[in-house]
Symmetry: C2
Subunit: 451 residues, 2 copies
């Protein structure tokens, strides 16, 4: 009887040990994933956790996109996402039926599609797939785990995966909410920027382009994500103050009077005072100051505050460079663009007095494919992939360093010809959108200046 | 020896049982709180969970506001928050030192401030207070639990509270992030709305006010939170399309030509096409349609689409009512407001052809204190609390039902006088802001019409 009791207790102990182990795993998974609100990173994290907890080779989370009736997934370490109709394959089966599917021998199961293994060279032995449900019981995705190490998936694995999927669903929905909110905010800012630009046909697309150029400089000088977010937002909104500038002056044909010019010069001040009213998140708190400083110059001759050198915020200095570059390469888009060397010459001339040397240099290091993608942003779908690959190996400094056309190697000649074709908008045999919106406005007399 | 072994196992079992119990509690708490991203609700939830897990009478979470160096907390079931400097009291002590404080006898401890008990009538016996740290180890708040039931807090409680505080910190930071983002978005929309309104001095504050009026109707007819969010956003942005209207026409003195009037009438269409570009979250997806329908009329004579009756979105019908009410009570604010009866008369006249009867009736049910708070939104701090309490007991229908001044009871007379004083902006002896921005513009010839 003592023996019976002992073995009872030992059984109970074993039971507790197992339960405890499982609960501890679950608790750790929960704690780890609850830290992540950025959807992409969250999905990666969940897949990693499940792989290690279930001791298997692969784990994929497929998220259900109800609007498109598709399942999508981020491939580990891959940049692209996989998408397919939500009724296809084993994942589709699980979404449709809501059943857990434990397939001990993939190649013996008719629902398994061996084509994917053929393509990837991977060998699938066994599969465990479970639906992921939110708190309302709705299926919001699927967990798919492959190749349990050393054996097949058992009932314990099914239970564990089920428990994890409940926790994961909560956090995935939180991250989706967060992401949705972020997207709304960003598209909102973009829409505003384009609305403002649209008030003056000469500046259409200006704010978007300078946000893109600025981000290229940010990449060259290695700014961190949060500075890039500030720079991008400030770039998109830098001209918002123009909403307070009288339209008659903003769109005036011919030379502006001094008074009119002074009125226009108030726009960065309006930008600041409007943006100051916005309750920006901690990360974006400096946006109003940065946005308002795009017309400051190193020598103190800029506006609105006549700041000098170190007084001008770093990100504002980036805006100053790209703002003028875009003004010079886009405002006059009803006729040929000013020669590229001349544009860069104007930047060079202002370096040290108007522009910060460091950021002018960084601008010249932007790979030419990226530069052309922004320059010809409105014709993006007409750019040739081969040409872009060629251009990606060079930057503006390389263009400036080219010898005269007589002395160029065939490679150098090809680089120059390719770049010029896009810069002058004479690619694809047809004239591109920019030059088609021709004529109409004679803004010749107007000071060449960014927005 | 067998006995020794048995007792070893039993001890181990006991240990497991205890650990298991604790882990299960933690897991449940984690799972429960991970569902909530709305900060207020999250804090309530955490406090409830801790109270039940620690078996004590009260639990308060104090959140550290680093910018103001204050601790704040939401009182259970209370509407207001408590705030105090972050170094004060026992919570302040814990924030400053980072120590866990377990006080078995509050009144014997010099750090305990008995004044609070005196004020609230509560009797504090014992206190357990622990710092809440985020993943970087920074203190982001404090947990304070009071009166362990039947005994004092022990080491197990300390450990449990510590473990919970780690989990809670993660989710509180997630919720703060979410909230911050939401606040940014909302203040952004408000800023835009006021920017648009500011282009035409006659409409200053219009969008904000109609958002407030619309929300009052929403309250009367019991719309749910998500409809109210749509209504509010659509109200704030309904005139955004005016950005595409030529300023010269928008601010023209004197009567508009037919052509000019037609141009202005395009603004709801512009509102829609601009807002359509925004990637609104699922909840706000209908904002562009609602915002664009504020000039539709039940009989089909409205614009931009000449929709009829059921074709007009419900929330658009609310906007139509409040848009006209605000136009009639504010546009001419440089002189006396149109008599209230006349304004309501115009709404009544249009009921059934222009306005939906249900929402006109709802408008008349808005308590008068709320109505006055919106009417005199720019003078909010000058409204008398006693007057507002009086007005809160009546609505527009009550005003319309009053007998002629000869036959009124003293109460009826007081109601009328009080309401009129605010409606005509002759309160506090001084003329209020609205009437001080007087004169200047002769927009007499302009059609009376909302924005």
């Amino acid at each position: 009887m003592a023996d019976n009791k002992k073995s009872d207790i030992e059984q109970q102990l074993e039971q507790y040990r197992k339960e405890h182990e499982k609960l501890k795993l679950l608790f750790d998974v929960t704690r780890n994933i609850s830290r992540e609100l950025v959807l992409d990173r969250l999905l990666m994290l969940i897949m990693d956790q499940v792989k290690s907890v279930l001791n298997c080779e692969r784990c994929t989370v497929f998220v259900l996109d109800r609007e498109k009736d598709e399942l999508w997934s981020r491939v580990a370490h891959g940049e692209k996402e996989i998408r397919f109709p939500s009724h296809l394959g084993i994942a589709g089966h699980v979404v449709t039926t809501g059943e857990v599917l434990n397939i001990p021998d993939a190649y013996a199961d008719p629902r398994f599609n061996p084509e994917i293994d053929k393509k990837t060279g991977y060998h699938t032995r066994n599969i465990l797939t479970a639906p992921m449900r939110n708190k309302l019981g709705e299926i919001i995705g699927v967990f798919q785990t492959l190749n349990k190490i050393g054996t097949a998936f058992n009932r314990d694995d099914e239970e564990l995966l089920n428990a994890i999927s409940i926790i994961a669903a909560v956090q995935i929905e939180n991250a989706q909410l967060y992401e949705e909110q972020k997207k709304t905010f960003e598209s909102f800012i973009e829409t505003l920027a384009s609305t403002i630009d649209a008030r003056d046909p000469l500046t259409a697309g200006h704010s978007k382009r300078i946000a893109l150029y600025a981000d290229e400089i940010a990449r060259v000088v290695n700014l961190d994500d949060s500075e890039r977010a500030v720079l991008r937002t400030a770039a998109l909104l830098h001209d918002y103050g123009k909403i307070a500038i009288r339209e008659a002056i903003l769109t005036k044909d011919g030379r502006l009077t001094d008074e009119e010019f002074k009125h226009i010069q108030r726009h960065p001040m309006f930008t600041r005072s409007i943006l100051k009213k916005i309750n920006f998140s901690r990360e974006l708190r400096s946006v109003p100051e940065i946005a308002a400083s795009h017309h400051e110059k190193l020598d103190g001759s800029g506006y609105p505050n006549g700041l000098r050198e170190a007084q001008i915020p770093k990100l504002g200095k980036i805006l100053a460079v790209v703002d003028v570059f875009d003004a010079l390469t886009s405002k006059r888009h009803y006729r040929d663009r000013m020669a590229f060397e001349k544009v860069i010459g104007i930047l060079a001339e202002g370096t040290g007095t108007q522009f910060d040397e460091f950021f002018v240099a960084a601008f010249k290091k932007i790979p030419l494919d990226r530069l052309v993608l922004v320059l010809e942003e409105e014709n993006a779908e007409r750019l040739d992939t081969g040409d872009l690959t060629l251009l990606s190996k060079y930057n503006t400094s390389d263009i400036l360093r080219l010898p005269g056309s007589e002395e160029r190697t065939p490679q150098q000649e090809e680089l120059r010809r390719t770049f010029d074709r896009y810069y002058t908008r004479k690619y694809n045999g047809v004239e591109a959108a920019g030059s088609r919106t021709a004529g109409s406005r004679a803004a010749e007399g107007r000071a060449v200046e960014g927005g």
